[in-house]
């Protein structure tokens, strides 16, 4: 019985990983399509990210003369980190073997590793845009990372564990309880999600030549398959962040321990939640205006403040 469970676990782990890689561009396409609808445009369709990836993979890669090996391997490391992160998060089921491998702090570390490499690669070529983007990315992320950790700590305090499966299990089993600390943490997490994924109040994902761009400035030198992998990794990152949000604040419907029969329902629930989250993200991006780069520390400071307030309120009210 144990063996069968383990084998099933590994199979479903593989399923989840493949599903995530396949679905991530679709989510990006859905967000873009929603944005187009909200702006009264027809939009490129849901499959546009796949078409872009296909086109990029067919092209010949161009590298700058002074590109070091680091520049070449970075897209693969980036893609690998994001895939690993998506495998750690319990997305369709709680009891997957891989999710025991790392806790939330290590998860933050995985994201940090990817960020270090992309920033180094951006500075590698030596163009002014690249190093400017890298420096801005570091400014944003060094403020976002402690806030993200605080969000994780707020939910770990309630579930007494930093392992994501435990956290999700605690929340999905409980009867409905109002946690003020979690409400704060969820708003903080939303702000971090916007900042870390280069979404609109902090960065504009649809720009390619603008003095204020952050993420696009860093990947300006990439082409063909390298660019495709970077774009795919960006989709995966958005998918991973939204999945973390779902796992922490809205885990209802996920397949629970030993209950593999609930898996089809869990996938349907996941798709529904992702659809709603993507539409919500597009709505947020439509109503918000991009802020000046000097306002970003304020924005992320507020996220940090909210997460810390969540922690403090948990200590005071015990809820």
């Amino acid at each position: 019985m144990d063996h069968i469970n383990l084998a099933l676990g590994i199979i479903f782990q593989l399923c989840q990983s493949l599903l995530v890689v396949a679905l991530a561009p679709l989510l990006t396409g859905w967000v873009g399509q929603c944005r187009a609808w909200l702006q009264n445009r027809t939009g490129p369709g849901l499959l546009q990210p796949y078409r872009t990836l296909h086109k990029l993979f067919l092209k010949d890669a161009l590298l700058a003369d002074n590109a070091s090996p680091l520049f070449r391997v970075t897209p693969y490391i980036l893609f690998g980190c994001m895939w690993l992160a998506a495998a750690i998060i319990p997305i369709i089921a709680i009891d997957l073997p891989f999710s025991q491998a790392a806790d939330v702090i290590a998860l933050v570390g995985v994201f940090a590793l990817a960020r270090v490499f992309i920033a180094l690669a951006a500075m590698d070529i030596g163009t002014s845009f690249g190093s400017m983007g890298a420096r801005r990315e570091m400014l944003v992320s060094f403020l976002a990372e402690p806030a993200l950790l605080m969000v994780f700590f707020a939910s770990s305090l309630i579930s007494h564990s930093t392992q994501l499966p435990h956290i999700v299990e605690t929340f999905s089993h409980h009867a409905f309880v109002l946690y003020p600390s979690l409400a704060f943490a969820s708003i903080a997490f939303l702000m971090i999600l916007l900042a870390e994924n280069a979404r609109i109040p902090v960065d504009n994902p649809s720009t390619h030549l603008e003095l204020t761009m952050i993420h696009e400035a860093m990947i300006l030198e990439y082409s063909a398959r390298h660019l495709a992998l970077v774009e795919w990794a960006v989709s995966l990152k958005l998918f991973a962040y939204i999945s973390i949000g779902i796992a922490l604040f809205f885990p209802y419907g996920i397949a629970e321990v030993g209950n593999w029969g609930a898996l089809p329902l869990a996938i349907v629930a996941l798709l529904l939640k992702l659809t709603a989250a993507g539409a919500g993200l597009a709505g947020l991006e439509t109503i918000l205006a991009k802020m000046r780069i000097f306002r970003v520390p304020e924005f992320l400071g507020t996220a940090f403040l909210l997460a810390v307030l969540g922690l403090l309120i948990h200590f005071l009210l015990g809820a």
Binding site: V177, L178, P180, E298, G301, L305, L316, L317, A319
Partner: protein
């Protein structure tokens, strides 16, 4: 379970109250500041109503109604009228370094939670954890009055300080006697009227509502 749920709701409202206090500190627009003040009053009304319902104390319904009437409707309306007449409706205040102020705010919150912990042990009501939050929002309002330079936002800070005190009263002792509450309500109302007159006087003298001009008074 019903009691537990009401406690949860009060806790959530208290947390929102604290959040609004922080939002007020970091708000630049005077118009939004007044709207936040009205929202704070509304949250206060709801929390008083929930306390009244869960403890079956009928006089708290009156104070909830009084809060709704005064702090959600009359005072914001008065302030709106004032800033319209003073033509500062769209004024934006320059604030000193918001992240630093917010960090100071966090320190204040920790301080007041620590301070309120022994007091909360004495109380055995359902809402004893809330004294810390009430104290924190009072201190945050004080911080706001310290960091602002425009007269109108200082007055909003003063009014929200009174909100924090009121919240402490309902959460810790299930409300003050109605006479006291009526007295305070009247005080606040009259104070707002007088502040309104002051605003006009200040502006007539200095052509601005910036309080820092008043420092030069003694030089004459």
């Amino acid at each position: 379970m019903s009691l537990a749920l009401s406690t949860q709701i009060i806790n959530l409202l208290a947390a929102i109250l604290l959040l609004i206090a922080f939002a007020m500190i970091s708000q630049r627009r005077i118009l939004s500041l007044i709207n936040l003040f009205a929202l704070q009053g509304f949250i206060l009304t709801m929390s008083t109503g929930v306390v009244a319902y869960s403890t079956a104390q009928h006089h708290l319904y009156y104070s909830a109604g009084l809060t709704l009437l005064l702090k959600v409707l009359v005072l914001p309306w008065l302030l709106h009228r004032l800033i319209r007449k003073l033509k500062i409706k769209w004024d934006v205040e320059t604030l000193i370094n918001i992240p630093t102020t917010m960090l100071a705010g966090i320190v204040l919150v920790i301080f007041s939670f620590d301070l309120a912990a022994p007091i909360s042990q004495l109380s055995d009501s359902v809402t004893r954890g809330l004294i810390g939050i009430a104290l924190a929002s009072v201190l945050l309002s004080l911080l706001m009055m310290l960091t602002r330079r425009k007269a109108v936002s200082q007055v909003v800070g003063f009014l929200s300080l009174e909100n924090g005190l009121f919240f402490a009263a309902t959460s810790a002792t299930h409300g003050m006697p109605l006479v006291v509450e009526l007295g305070i309500a009247l005080d606040v109302l009259v104070a707002t009227f007088i502040f309104g007159i002051f605003f006009f006087q200040i502006r007539e003298t200095f052509d601005s509502l910036d309080i820092s001009h008043m420092e030069t008074l003694k030089d004459d």
